[in-house]
């Protein structure tokens, strides 16, 4: 059965993509956050540009920080954003 995940974007990632969230279907071959990034990058060049340097991005799976190598597992929400700058 096909899995899907809600991907949400913040700050300049959101502005550059022009959307704040999207529901994406994940094939069985998609295991990690990096796999999701590659899949989106292959779909549209704009994604590939924005995701080119993963050092400039931070990720959260179901509101907990993850790495690009983290397994998606059964997570329902993936957030992609720049390093935080609050306070």
């Amino acid at each position: 059965m096909a899995r899907s995940i809600n991907i949400i974007y913040f700050a300049w990632v959101r502005e550059r993509l022009g959307i704040d969230q999207e529901q994406v279907s994940l094939g069985d071959e998609i295991e990690t956050i990096a796999d999701v990034l590659n899949m989106l990058g292959e779909r549209e060049a704009a994604y590939a540009d924005i995701f080119a340097d993963v050092e400039k991005l931070r990720f959260a799976l179901d509101q907990d920080y993850g790495l690009s190598t983290s397994l998606i597992g059964s997570a329902r929400e993936l957030a992609i954003f720049p390093p935080v700058t609050g306070g």
Binding site: F10, W12, Q63, P83, V84, T85, G87
Partner: protein
């Protein structure tokens, strides 16, 4: 004992301090962060990830309470459009002893700046707009807390 508020509303430092002081101990420390005038800044826009912000701030506060034996922690962080001189963030810690309250307050701010999902956008007087970037000194300050 842990109070966390995130929203556009300003805060009343006196009232928030009373709230922490009313929960025991005799040592109250606080930090207030405001929008700094660095020359031609018109305003800041603060964005956050609501579902994660509460969770991240609560985890930081809980760690501070257990590591420094605090009676109370209050964290208030504003979002939305803020002008030069406006309050951004308030952290208040209450403990039995001065050092615990001050250290815990410093710990919370260092972690908040590097972990809590907020982002600031600068709007300059000439209309130029820029997302603020992470500072290496903030990351170092956060990493020094190995307790």
């Amino acid at each position: 004992m842990i109070k966390i508020e995130v929203g556009p509303a300003d805060f009343d430092i006196g009232a928030e301090t009373q709230h922490v002081a009313g929960q025991g101990g005799g040592a109250i420390a606080s930090f207030v962060g405001q929008v700094r005038d660095d020359g031609n800044l018109a305003s800041l826009e603060l964005e956050h990830y609501p579902a994660m912000t509460q969770k991240a701030l609560r985890e930081i506060a809980e760690k501070a309470v257990s590591d420094w034996t605090l009676h109370a922690v209050t964290i208030v962080h504003r979002v939305g459009k803020l002008s030069v001189g406006d309050n951004i963030v308030l952290v208040i810690t209450g403990s039995d002893h001065r050092q615990a309250a001050i250290e815990a307050c410093s710990f919370i701010m260092d972690k908040l700046k590097t972990v809590a999902p907020f982002w600031k956008k600068e709007i300059r007087a000439d209309g130029a707009v820029k997302w603020i970037e992470e500072r290496a000194s903030d990351v170092e300050a956060s990493e020094k807390w190995q307790r």
